[in-house]
Symmetry: C2
Subunit: 358 residues, 2 copies
């Protein structure tokens, strides 16, 4: 296993973030992009050193971080460029990439292992990159039957050096799961968002936070998502049909005056969401919530967190709501339940309007 | 117009928040609930004074804040209880409530005006109430043909006293818009969430932030949403069928090897989302973003906000991401663009790992 000299091909959000993550460890990646100005921008951000294709010849491992429609083509170019480096990619659909690579000479294709870090942002480009993008995220590793042990081990090591946890999953399982948890939610969010335009002039002002959250993904790039959907067309189409059928069934029940299908659907959705690991897990996050009203001016948050710190309370999460046209903000602090009353008391003693809010 | 003596029937999230909002102005509401312990809890939270039905006799205006399935029944009870007060409700579907009230004697039904504040939380009950829940929100006012000028004016005045902006919308338009921007997104979020359970044991760990955001609404109460959907069955069924048809059409295009329907859908969704007013509006929020890595322990946030306050920088928004299994948190601070470089410099001078992140 050797990934001490890493090449990154494609310096958008993902490739630049890989470079930044490696730079935290003192490791300098070679950055290559069809747009050399973009590679230079990534280098200026601290993601590594910009180079041309021939600079990849000295790498131990090359990760190809290009849009999914061109992933297989660029991986093939890289495999043909260099006789020793192992190669991985980051495309969000794996079956079609592996299928193309498997058509290559086995001496070449064995150096490739599929990869897919489950991380991203709505914004793209090197400027949106974050060194922490992969910290704690899952980086799926999808070896094919041709993949060598070294290629797989290098891909896993790259993921770990970027701060991610690895999960080895076969490509078809990966693609079916991603259709369900990523690609289809993206398209459904877009479908819901379009209804805002169709619902008449009153609709935008009547849309609340729920609509905003549910359609947040709809801000994403149309061309990128067309490319992702095309790369995983079969599983995405199957998921879309399943969701479509569910919605049609509920509509028919409502037309028949029966809301029990709605109740079953919402109950099933809530139960399924409880399967999510971590903070969002059911039954409920373990934090207690304390609400505080603050004047919306410099120094007030410092005062708030100063009081919390002096009380020995660690704030686990915070959200700020601005009241439009009002000179106040409303802050929710999530803390360990046994610390909540102490925090409220300390804040009230400091003259702040604080209350338990759970 | 007189809403100096307000009665609140139903002291859940919404009714208690109305009481808290009025209390900010020094106005004490009369709180009535079928569960008198719940009314007492709301009173203890500062939302007003708990009373029985007969206490409503002295009110100028009574707002009925009960679940939608019983809204018309309780409004009718209140209208029959009291010969002078105007009455409004807060149910999220208006046509069916107005239809029932219109069957009453016109001397009675003229005192009623429909209302619907567009605000809420996934959590319910008086403990989830917030005095600021309605600040800056839209409170829809739906008079019927029978509604008196006084009833309508009182309903609008109540909304303003709670911090909301009012919008007069006819009931059928309201119901169609809410089906599109609230009720259907809720059910679609649930449908997406159920797919997590169907997608196999690898799915929960492969679900990212996008899935969490898109399905956040799916944590809501099944019985409440069955009641809401039943109260607006026609428009919700029509919306569900439209979204269902859109998804089926895209699935068919993908099966035919054509991703252009995906690109058009995502582009249309993004354009529609740009119609949203305020922070989420297109092209982009005006804030600049500064990212900071922090040890996850008490006092670090105080230090961070202390440095920001001393630099004279007002933090407009903040989000904290915890890296699971890592003893660090990643904090994004949104600030006015002209203050971002100053903030980064001040944080770096204080020894914090800060960078521009936009």
């Amino acid at each position: 296993v050797s990934v001490d000299r890493v090449g990154v091909v494609g310096t958008g959000l993902m490739g630049t973030s890989i470079g930044l993550a490696l730079a935290r460890r003192g490791q300098q990646a070679v950055l290559v992009d069809a747009d050399s100005g973009r590679a230079a921008a990534a280098a200026a951000l601290g993601a590594g050193r910009a180079g041309e294709w021939d600079a990849l010849a000295n790498c131990d491992h090359v990760v190809v971080a290009v849009p999914p429609t061109v992933a297989a083509v660029v991986v093939t170019q890289v495999l043909r460029l260099n006789l020793t480096a192992t190669v991985s990619d980051i495309a969000s659909a794996k079956t079609n990439v592996l299928r193309e690579i498997e058509t290559l000479n086995p001496d070449v294709s064995r150096r490739f292992c599929g990869g897919h870090p489950i991380a991203g942002r709505e914004r793209g480009g090197p400027g949106a990159a974050q060194p922490e993008l992969f910290d704690g995220a899952v980086w799926v590793v999808c070896p094919s039957s041709a993949t060598s042990e070294a290629a797989r081990a290098d891909t896993e090591e790259l993921a770990r050096r970027c701060g991610a946890r690895t999960a080895v999953v076969d490509a078809s399982t990966h693609d079916a799961v991603l259709a369900a948890v990523s690609h289809t939610p993206q398209l459904v969010a877009s479908a819901l968002a379009t209804r805002l335009a169709a619902a008449g002039p009153d609709a935008p002002s009547l849309a609340g936070q729920g609509f905003r959250d549910t359609t947040r993904l709809a801000d994403s790039d149309p061309a990128l998502w067309a490319s992702i959907a095309a790369g995983n067309a079969g599983p995405v189409a199957a998921e879309l049909r399943t969701v479509s059928d569910t919605l049609a069934t509920v509509a028919a029940s409502l037309d028949a005056g029966d809301a029990s299908a709605v109740e079953r659907l919402v109950a099933a959705g809530r139960a399924a969401r409880g399967l999510l690991p971590g903070k969002a897990a059911a039954p409920k996050p373990a934090w207690a919530r304390v609400g505080v009203v603050l004047p919306d001016r410099p120094g007030e948050l410092a005062r708030l967190f100063g009081v919390a710190g002096e009380a020995g309370v660690n704030v686990e999460d915070v959200s700020i709501e601005h009241a439009p046209d009002h000179p106040v903000g409303y802050v929710d602090l999530d803390v360990r339940p046994e610390q909540a009353d102490r925090l409220v008391a300390a804040l009230v003693a400091a003259g702040l309007a604080a209350h338990r809010n759970d």
